[in-house]
Symmetry: C2
DNA sequence: TTTCATGTAACTATCGATATTACATGAAGG
DNA sequence: CCTTCATGTAATATCGATAGTTACATGAAA
């Protein structure tokens, strides 16, 4: 089953937006996410409605962050996307008449509910600021590796 | 995103098979799961290969359980289905060159891995025997409710 | 040797999600 | 103003994954 990559993609573009100080157009973001500008607008509209980003029309327009990175958790972003269903596996029918199926559903539902609660709490623990810091650390690591390799090479 | 209901469906038919003492044909199972006999055979083939069920050809043939209900966990069934991916949400790309995306993926992967581990351990805790007992309890409940209602009505 | 059932390959249909097109709205530049 | 650039959004097209179907082979029982 194909996975919904909007969460991953949106986090990606949000962090890229944070690196810039000016609005970024849907066109630029679309290229970064390898998709269509209209798709970007559709996805970002939820974030705008929740007040996480701003959009401006006309010259110099585009998307920009409306809040501090530390004030946005991954769970916020997930919710702003409309809380797409997290699981690729589910019950055949809701509210079946068959008692066998009711028993099956009850057990599966409990297991999935627990997993969902854990997942959401993990997403809540992480802010965009932390993701950004993680990115900066990786950037430093790469630079160090590069310096060492260059020193070896010379 | 549409959910894969094979796990739910297979558990359903396995419990129905347990209620009978004779082989059940793919045709009958297909009607119970509201699908096609060929689909049943496809799905059950994994369970057969793992030794959980048997299939016989010819007159009086069909599917029957090869093990005790207490010896089959929901995780066993999940694995026999080929461990379909549990989550409907995932990373846009694996092994991206972009460091921003690497940071995003690393964080999401950790959260999803934890949730998956929890979910699998819950599935491992439940045997088909326990599901069957749950079903029997529901059957008793329904009978009791029905008796009470009948008494009220007369 | 006929009937019934599974095994499996190949093909088709369906359906949801993404991509695209088209046009409206509105802001900034000249 | 009016042209350009950008978003907003509805309508439509395209694509891919999965279930469903058809067809035929295998093999067991009557």
């Amino acid at each position: 089953m194909k996975r919904d990559s909007r969460l991953s993609g949106v986090l990606h573009v949000l962090l890229h937006m944070a690196e810039r100080n000016e609005p970024v157009t849907s066109d630029v973001l679309a290229r970064a996410m390898d998709t269509n500008p209209v798709v970007i607008r559709r996805i970002m509209s939820g974030l705008r409605d929740q007040g996480y980003v701003r959009s401006e029309k006309g010259h110099g327009g585009g998307w920009s962050l409306a809040r501090d990175l530390a004030a946005i958790t991954l769970r916020d972003v997930y919710q702003a996307l409309g809380q797409p269903s997290l699981f690729a596996v589910g019950n055949r029918t809701e509210a079946p008449g068959c008692l066998v199926e009711q028993a099956v559903n009850a057990t599966l539902d409990r297991a999935f509910d627990e997993a969902e609660a854990l997942l959401l709490s993990r997403l809540e623990d992480v802010t965009l600021a932390r993701l950004s810091a993680d990115f900066q650390r990786r950037l430093g690591d790469r630079r160090n590796r590069h310096r060492l390799e260059t020193a070896h090479g010379s």
